[in-house]
Symmetry: C2
Subunit: 221 residues, 2 copies
Amino acid sequence: MCSVKRRDDRTAAARIRDAAVELFGREGFHKATVRDIAKDAGVSPALVLHHYGSKSGLRDACDEWVVEEFARARTEMVESGTSTDPFAAMALIQGEEVRMAYLLRSLREGTPAAGRLFDGLVEHSLRMMEQGVRTGELRPSRNLHDQAVLLVAWQFGGLLLQGDVARAFGTELNSREMKERYIRAVLEVMTHGVFSDSRYEDAWNELEPTESVSEGAMEHD
Amino acid sequence: MCSVKRRDDRTAAARIRDAAVELFGREGFHKATVRDIAKDAGVSPALVLHHYGSKSGLRDACDEWVVEEFARARTEMVESGTSTDPFAAMALIQGEEVRMAYLLRSLREGTPAAGRLFDGLVEHSLRMMEQGVRTGELRPSRNLHDQAVLLVAWQFGGLLLQGDVARAFGTELNSREMKERYIRAVLEVMTHGVFSDSRYEDAWNELEPTESVSEGAMEHD
DNA sequence: TAGTATACTGAACATGTGTTCAGTGAAGCG
DNA sequence: CGCTTCACTGAACACATGTTCAGTATACTA
């Protein structure tokens, strides 16, 4: 009689959390019901509340778990291979599909956990980029921190809108062609920019002469 | 007895639609209840359903209305001043706060209406960018269409994540300082890129030799 | 005037869903 | 064994919310 119940060795609480991460990510916090999560985990709805107190408590547990997993993956990556290009920071986030879906959903719904992960990724990217500047792979910026924020926001933004990008490309979502064309476009902009000269930047700098860059950046000429 | 009821000259159906646009944008489709919308519009909940059939029907009406308004603003802009820089395409979307909030919410929730607006903005940006290339303000791209998609996705992405950006900047959301620093960072990347040379682009092009650029781009050497 | 359509309302209905609670069975412990 | 603890369940509760419906008032038409 142990063929059905013993389908995996995770504890019931862990199965509930895993099912919740998947359903929250796929359906969103509201549409994913406690009953659905319980069914996917193979337990009764009451047990979900027994272990996590409430649906929000379950989300908090999922947040903590996912953020923890990403942090673990990040430190592992740093300790093993050391790639300095800013895309490596994103690579570690892709690959684990369900956690990625959960993260994107959290970002969409604006939970604090996603914000913390955003901040952590900014910090991580900044360190990578500082190293890239030292090795000469990246051109120095007048405000590397702000640039890191911008790049992380853009990367996440592209991920959030990947459905729209795929449609506008006329390709299947996550198809090989889509990824290639996307990366190619990114590389071109990252390498050459889009303006033919610095007239826009100059015009802006004339309008808004380099005012005191507040906290978060410490350049001084 | 006409002091309370006659607070504006919009028809009840219009007031309902306006209240719905605002609440859907601020709270999201799920959290904005029919009763709340009715209260904001100063009518009974039943009237909402009487005019729009269902809550989904109301959303459809809001979608159509907002998309229509943006399209109108866009054609107006094109017909009056003719600015070719790609940021002008975004400027028309900002400014009208409630519609902007509604659009961002739709983008987050992935409604088809937001997709249509995304596509429209890509097309519009592409035309602007083609003109920019002709006038020499933009450097020619090997695939201007894909670049337009990327830039629109990034712009929207930055908008979607403006809360995270503000926090990472250490500024108030929508503060003057935040906008200045954001624009400055954007201009720097758009003008110079982030890489110091083309080694990454070259490496990629060696790995993935310029395969037949499929539909949507028609460059040939 | 009578009739009909339309805008509109209050109240009720149906359902989905988070949550509670009494109870069961098994495991550990004295 | 008796007791407690804990994971776990089935059923019910409470409530929010979309929706329906009978009914009212007003405006327009024949």
